[in-house]
Symmetry: C2
Subunit: 334 residues, 2 copies
């Protein structure tokens, strides 16, 4: 391999084979990927499957707590989990800008390999394109994922009822604030992204399958936007308790200084779970027993005195409406 | 919608919803896509599935015979068919450059809708990202696809035996030459891309399931590169007969003038099929009865007197080796 990626690495010929053999296969090899045809044939145990995709255009592509490779795996793995399914297989597609460092690519692929292994998924099919300089930004990655649906876990906004509790699995807003600080060189960029695969949530989902109404990872647009996506599809509202919402100290301080709201900042390793009231304390206790969810909290509940809103109750007893994200604080955070 | 796509259409908030509601849903709506969660739950009839992905970075994104939207559907649909499977579901992910024309996006989405309908596939999950100006080139699209495997059709290089015939479903090289001419404004850009979904091949594949050894669509790198991918994985060689290879007159003329070889030029609506000798004439006859395959031809056979090569027999009796594409005639053709 040359030190930088030239256009010919994307021509589908000899150079593309070289890139696959020397960079991709050593990190990602498995029996399904190896034949390298136009796609993979998968034998699933379950014919009810989840299917999801995301493209990742984050800049910078290396950031505190992760990189675009780790994020590309976590993003799709978490989306599959949010569908109530066990992630099994990923596709992986690169759009690389001519001139990109081969070493950076190698490190990103290593990170994809390590995160996939951690999440228990196999990369089974892929694609590499190279675009001419000035028509990309280093590297963009798309992943699509397939998971097997957990039987008896039937998620949907229509399952939500007044009295249901809203749980978040950890502090809000870390990813978005981390990327902002990394990009702008603020606060010596010490705030880490929360980017991680939410695999331990699978056991919890199975245990509480009869009680969980919906799960969603609050990525772009943050917690406020995700909860609005729920509320606008239902007759009820979601009422949050401001002083129950966990936010890390450094994220809170950065938000205060920058005039940002952690509820609109992206997360890449958190889930919002709406669960029946009766199961909520048990689910929270089980979550908190898992290290990555130790700061989980019940942050609100579903109420029926207003229609289709997200309401925030402040500690002094006031209530305000939380809208969807409309102003773009920070583009290209995932 | 505004006339051009701004960064805020990719923020995951209100503007992203507007783009989804006003441009995507009218063309692509179906029961599985509508809930707009993090992914779709699919109930398959068959738990043996094909999974494939491609990113499309073609420029220009409108070209004679198609556009990037049509290509994005055809590319993945055809890859699934090449896996011996019936394409069912697609994911769809956009990376749009800030400043892209909303009308162009609308036309591309229309084309995606029309091609999906023609191919019998549903778009069930998707994603939209917007990158800042100067970090894209109008629009890039990723699709991933899921298909149900045709029972009894077991494809692989290991199935190939000496005596097997190589069939191509139509003339070679149209897509690559079309894009080159469109990009450079050559020959008044009259040469059309062959971009199309190969759906009629499914019935043929079922009928000859016991005889077809492998199928592959010769996209980037063309027929020569695809056949090399077969030959380098086997003990035998593939011997082509130069005068049997169909090439359209206008493609041949353009190649002669430009010093290009249609065997290295991309196709986006052709398949190479390796089939047992005994079934080859019957399969060819059935192919030729279908309008889009009327120029199909047996172009060569598998031989065992040389190992792992692609050989070309010229009309005057000479033989030369056809290698994989190594020099990059034309980047970004798909």
């Amino acid at each position: 391999m040359e030190d930088i990626i030239s256009l010919s690495y994307g021509n589908g010929g000899r150079k593309t084979s070289e890139l696959i053999d020397s960079i991709l296969m050593p990190e990602l090899k498995n029996d399904l990927l190896s034949p390298l045809g136009d796609g993979a044939i998968l034998g699933l145990k379950n014919s009810n499957i989840a299917f999801s995709t995301d493209s990742f255009v984050i800049y910078p592509y290396f950031f505190p707590g992760g990189d675009i490779g780790k994020l590309s795996v976590c993003g799709t793995v978490n989306d599959i989990i949010m569908c109530g399914s066990v992630p099994k297989y990923l596709s992986l597609s690169f759009i690389i800008e001519e001139g990109f460092s081969t070493e950076h690519l190698r490190n990103i692929v290593k990170s994809i390999g390590a995160t996939s292994a951690k999440a228990g998924v196999s990369i089974v099919t892929g694609d590499t394109k190279v675009v001419d300089k000035g028509h990309g930004h280093g590297i963009y990655i798309n992943t699509a994922g397939i998971g097997e649906k957990i039987e008896g876990l039937n998620l949907g906004v229509s399952q939500i009822k007044p009295g249901d509790k809203v749980i978040i699995t950890g502090p809000c807003g870390n990813h978005g604030i981390s990327i902002l600080c990394a990009r702008e060189g603020l606060f010596s960029s010490q705030i880490k992204s929360d980017c991680m695969p939410l695999i331990p949530l699978l056991d919890i989902s199975k245990k509480y399958r009869q009680h969980i109404k919906i799960m969603r990872d609050p990525t772009r647009g943050g917690v406020a936007t995700t909860l609005n996506e729920f509320s606008e599809q239902m007759q009820y509202s979601i009422q949050l308790l401001e002083d129950k919402i966990p936010v890390d100290e450094d994220v809170r301080a950065a938000c205060d200084l920058l005039g940002l709201d952690p509820l609109y900042s992206a997360n890449e390793g958190k889930a919002l779970i709406v669960v029946s009231e009766e199961a909520s304390e048990g689910l929270l206790k089980d979550l908190k027993a898992i290290d990555i969810f130790k700061d989980a909290a019940i942050i609100g509940e579903v109420v029926d005195y207003v229609k289709s809103k997200v309401l925030m109750k402040t500690p002094i007893g006031g209530t305000r409406i939380l809208d969807k994200l409309s102003y773009d604080a920070l583009p290209r955070i995932c």
